[in-house]
């Protein structure tokens, strides 16, 4: 049953695994090997358990046999001993008879004496039931003998033929013995067997043989067992010959026969005797004893015991009753059949069961392992597929976004140009809307592209030296319009300990900050958005020092969420010491704090999950896709930083992130950055050494103002009210050049303010300090009549930016005419930065185009060299050369732009590229504008978008050239103009 089940299970399992191993062919070998092992295990243990069974049962049988043998031997020996005792006694009696009967004349013994004697000594012969003595009578002596005795000799054989019952027995009925040569009549007998007196022993068959053998051998001789007269029980007769005196011990049989006087016989009632014997011994009931006469081997005569034949265990012990002619043996058997060998059975079955169980466990384990492996393989396969799908998705996204972005830029450019044409109000509105939508779309595409790039692992951070403060100024100017519209105060503060220049990816850094600030402004209706940049170490020190800051001590006076909560989980704070070894790494911590509506607590957990917004209505009211924060998180991770936030509904949120940059070391890179910044430096130098006074009661805000003013090289002092300010100006030994005051103070106390200004003029100084009003929104200050009423008062709109501040100060300080504030200032300024001092080659066969392009580039300070043929360009651009860039017409006679570009690239390849400063970027332009943001697309595949030669327009030129900005040396970007 068990085996059947087992077989079923294993065949089922095999079927299962068959499929599995078809998949994984290499494992089939091991599988079959396992199966063989299992099978051999089972067979082995079956054999072992069977062997144990056999061994144990044989042990039991052996033990039983031994027990039986010892019991049997014990009985046999006792029987034999007792028999021998009896026999010896009878022998002794024979000597008695020979002495007192034959040796005395007249005999000293008669029947009565004999009977009494034997009766009294019968305890000596426990095995005999009776003793008798018969004499040898020759036929010649018969008559005299019969007379002497008074009875005739009787024969026995008739008696043997007709056995009589005990009670009927009457010796007088016996026939007298026929005439024989010799008679052996019984003369003495014990009382028990007195009936045998006068019976001729030679007439009985058994007795005759006995008598004859006894006299021949001179030893005790036994008859075969026979039914005794009268008692009819089984018995044997022991016969001793009584010889005449003086017979030598080595006499021949014949001499013995001649010397025989008579015969002494003892009747042994074997049956009762053995019975008696067995009763004396313990465990009579456990074994059966048979005593047999085995003189005739083929026909053993049973002397005792039932004859029930049993093929069970039987043990034979030989008995020696002193008669060499007769052989006897005792056969012993157990009464009960041998019990079942339960111990052996249970042990072996137990072992087998254990082995089966172990086998089952083994099998199940192998199956399980196989199944798990199979599953694991499937999972791996699925995982690979999923990953491949994910990568494919990201790649697809990246490709598609890129492909969308390219024409979108064309669309945007065209829209920009369309706006500059003559349009009526409605048209202009349409175009603006279209452009805004287009920009939004491009922004979204850029975000998706970023996300996809991050996911596909393609995004790599740049390692560029950049000015952190400039980046933040940029971002600030980006949001200044929005914050002014909303009336939200926007401020940036960068700690003095943050170095001017760091090495990292400015674009991505800017992206993170833009995203966080954008979010903050989006959700903030009143109050402020405050960006602070510190070193991590500085903040850690601050935590230790700073006590509970009052909620009022914020930029706009609105309470904010405690920003320290936002970096609670940052690892870099807890293991501060371990990160320190990187001595040239700069760890910045940037916090963006707002007083907006905050993030609901239930939505806080999924803030960084892509496309998750607080709730769907958000995207309706505020727009956006919800991808920005997840990108920021990825970017922060790429910068080896962490991002976190704290948000309290109705109070505001503070997002904090850390980023690791490396400090700029003196290298060739420095040259470039200086070149780019020298303009800002020149602005700064104008104000260097001047002194300014900031009147602001709110320390946080004053700190921001001071930060910005100090960047211009101006020494700043902060006071909290007019009076202090006045005393500082009048008492200070140094001249105060300017006073900057918060609009809050101005509005609060108009009278005091104007008094202050009047007082300023009264102080005896060569030139009274200029007074500036730091205003949150331009419109409100314009409306305010008091401001416009006072002369010598310039409004500086917030958010404060260094460039803005510088321009305002410049204008107000009297040398403001240098500036040329026009729309598109930023691109042209940047272009100027970009192109100033660059040596650029333009190649075109069209003189007019050449002139125009040269004019355009020269306007931004570039050093332009013109060439009209492709060959010329190749000659000029054979390394080593001094050019930073080359713009080339695509369509030219003799050699077109592509061909020329290819040749120039070839020549670069032949020569070590790094031989000369500046790798060359060959730009090609045509009447068409066609630029690519990516340098991965080979030249030949570029397609042109038809655009008039408006490419000299700053925005487009800026777009085309902005890639220069990212890399220090002009890279090999394929920008087609």
């Amino acid at each position: 049953m068990l085996f059947k089940c087992w077989d079923k299970v294993s065949t089922y399992g095999f079927k299962l695994h068959h499929h599995y191993y078809q998949l994984i062919g290499s494992k089939r070998v091991s599988k079959s090997w396992w199966r063989k092992l299992l099978l051999s295990w089972l067979i082995g243990w079956t054999v072992v358990s069977f062997w144990i069974f056999c061994y144990m049962s044989s042990q039991a049988t052996e033990k039983r046999k031994e027990t039986l043998a010892s019991m049997c031997d014990e009985r046999a020996r006792m029987l034999q001993d007792q028999f021998n005792v009896s026999m010896n006694h009878i022998q002794a009696m024979s000597i008695l008879i020979s002495t007192f009967h034959h040796g005395k004349n007249p005999s000293a013994i008669d029947q009565t004496t004999f009977a009494r004697y034997t009766e009294r000594t019968s305890f000596e012969r426990p095995l005999t039931s009776g003793v008798a003595y018969a004499v040898r009578v020759l036929h010649s002596e018969r008559e005299q003998f019969e007379k002497h005795q008074g009875w005739t000799i009787k024969r026995m054989d008739t008696l043997e033929r007709n056995p009589v019952h005990k009670d009927d027995y009457n010796p007088d009925l016996l026939e007298p013995s026929p005439i024989q040569e010799e008679y052996v009549p019984v003369i003495f007998a014990q009382d028990i067997i007195s009936h045998v007196i006068s019976i001729d022993l030679l007439s009985g068959k058994e007795d005759r043989e006995n008598v004859l053998r006894a006299r021949k051998s001179g030893k005790g001789v036994l008859t075969a067992p026979f039914r005794l007269l009268k008692t009819n029980r089984l018995g044997v007769i022991l016969t001793f010959a009584v010889y005449k005196r003086g017979l030598p011990s080595n006499a021949t049989p014949n001499e013995r026969i001649q010397a025989t006087d008579g015969y002494l016989g003892g009747v042994f009632d074997v049956e009762s005797l053995v019975e008696k014997l067995l009763q004396q011994l313990a465990s009579k009931q456990t074994i059966l004893v048979n005593v047999l006469d085995t003189t005739n081997q083929s026909h053993p005569i049973s002397m005792y015991g039932s004859n029930a034949s049993d093929d069970g265990l039987e043990l034979v012990s030989h008995l020696n009753f002193g008669d060499p002619f007769r052989k006897h043996e005792m056969r012993c058997r157990f009464k009960q059949k041998p019990p079942w060998p339960w111990l052996a059975i249970t042990t072996s079955i137990g072992i087998l069961v254990i082995a089966l169980l172990v086998g089952h466990i083994f099998h199940a384990t192998v199956n399980r392992i196989a199944k798990v492996e199979d599953d694991c393989h499937k999972m791996m396969e699925l995982k690979k597929q999923a990953e491949a799908a994910d990568v494919a998705k990201s790649q697809f996204l990246a490709t598609v976004s890129h492909e969308i972005r390219t024409p979108m830029n064309g669309v945007l450019g065209m829209l920009h140009m369309l706006m500059d044409t003559d349009l009526d109000v409605t048209q202009l509105d349409y175009v603006r809307t279209a452009q805004a939508s287009g920009k939004a779309l491009v922004a979204l595409i850029n975000e998706v592209l970023d996300r996809a790039k991050i996911e596909s692992g393609k995004l790599e951070l740049e390692e560029v030296q950049f000015d952190l403060r400039a980046v933040l100024d940029d971002v600030l100017s980006l949001f200044s319009g929005k914050s002014q519209d909303k009336g939200v105060e926007l401020a940036v503060y960068i700690s003095d300990r943050v170095p001017e220049m760091v090495i990292g990816d400015p674009g991505r850094f800017r992206q993170i900050i833009t995203n966080l600030m954008g979010n903050s402004i989006k959700f903030t209706e009143k109050g402020h958005v405050h960006v602070t940049v510190h070193l991590v170490e500085e903040v850690i020190d601050m935590i230790e020092v700073e006590t509970e800051s009052s909620p009022k001590n914020t930029l706009s006076g609105f309470p904010v969420a405690d920003r320290r909560q936002s970096w609670k989980g940052f690892r870099s704070f807890s293991q501060e010491g371990s990160i320190h070894p990187f001595s040239d790494s700069i760890r910045l911590i940037v916090s963006v704090e707002d007083t907006g509506e905050g993030i609901p607590i239930e939505a806080q957990s999924r803030v960084f999950t892509p496309f998750m917004q607080v709730d769907p209505s958000i995207s309706r009211t505020h727009g956006g896709t919800g991808i920005g924060l997840s990108i920021s998180k990825c970017l922060v991770n790429l910068m080896k930083g962490e991002i976190g936030f704290v948000s309290m509904p109705k109070i505001g949120s503070t997002f904090t992130f850390t980023a690791v940059f490396s400090s700029s070391s003196s290298s060739s890179k420095e040259y470039k950055s200086q070149q780019i910044n020298n303009q800002a430096n020149s602005v700064c130098s104008e104000f260097r050494g001047m002194r300014a006074l900031v009147v602001d009661p709110r320390p946080v805000r004053a700190k921001v103002s001071r930060y910005h003013i100090q960047r211009l090289g101006i020494h700043v002092e902060v006071v909290s009210n007019w009076k202090q300010g006045l005393s500082v100006i009048s008492q200070g030994s140094n001249v105060t050049h300017m006073v900057l005051m918060e609009q809050e103070i101005w509005d609060r106390d108009l009278h005091g303010s104007s008094l202050f200004i009047n007082n300023l003029e009264k102080i005896d100084h060569s030139t009274p300090p200029k007074v500036f009003l730091l205003s949150n929104s331009i419109s409100s200050s314009r409306v305010n009549p008091s401001t416009s009423g006072v002369c010598n008062l310039t409004v500086i709109p917030k958010p404060l930016r260094t460039s803005m501040l510088a321009a305002s100060l410049q204008r107000a300080m009297g040398d403001g005419n240098k500036g040329n504030p026009r729309n598109g200032e930023l691109p042209s300024l940047s272009l100027r930065n970009l192109l100033l001092g660059r040596k650029i080659l333009i190649v075109d066969d069209n003189n007019v185009n050449l002139k125009v392009a040269a004019g355009a580039l020269k306007k931004y300070g570039a050093d332009v060299v013109s060439a009209s043929r492709g060959m010329e360009a190749i000659e000029l651009l054979t390394p080593p050369h001094q050019f930073d860039a080359c713009f080339m017409d695509i369509q030219m006679p003799e050699m077109d732009g592509f061909e020329a570009t290819r040749r120039i690239r070839d020549s670069e390849q032949n020569i070590n590229n790094h031989i000369h400063f500046g790798e060359l970027s060959v730009e090609t332009y045509n009447n068409v504008l066609n630029w690519h943001a990516s340098d991965q697309i080979p030249l030949e595949r570029t397609s042109a978008y038809d655009m008039p030669m408006a490419s000299i327009r700053p925005p487009l030129l800026w777009h085309a050239l902005r890639h220069f900005n990212k890399l220090h040396f002009f890279p090999r970007v394929n920008i087609f103009l």
């Binding site: 069209n846 003189n847 007019v848 002139k851 020269k858 009447n927």
Partner: protein, 149 residues
Amino acid sequence: MDLVQLQRQLVDYRTSLYHEGFLDEQFTQLQELQDENNPDFVVEVVSLYFEDSERLLNELSKALEQQIIDFKRIDAHVHQLKGSSSSIGAQRVQKLCIVFRNYCEAQNVEGCLKCLQQVKHEYSIVKTKLESMFQLERQILNAGGSVPV
């Protein structure tokens, strides 16, 4: 004439040029490129354009008179003309050049000849217009005023 009036006239005239489609955005760009460092930039470029265009138009006339007309060469010339026209913003000429090139591609001699005539016509108009504009500007400058942007 009053300086202000002159300036107004110039602005009006320029506006009309834009309105009538003789000039386009590109010309504005060109003007923006002109600054203190390069005060005669526009005039220089435009004179260069005149020279170049006249040379090209002559070439074209010659080429079209040939027995076997080399359309490839004509196309190259027209391309040049188109390029320079678009560079200074003479958009009518530029647009005609596009039509011209189409004929050229189709190897349509009659169309080409017709186009050449039209291009010459348009070119002469634009030339006159520009020259009179420069005249006005010069007058303003001579009168001590600045050319309004």
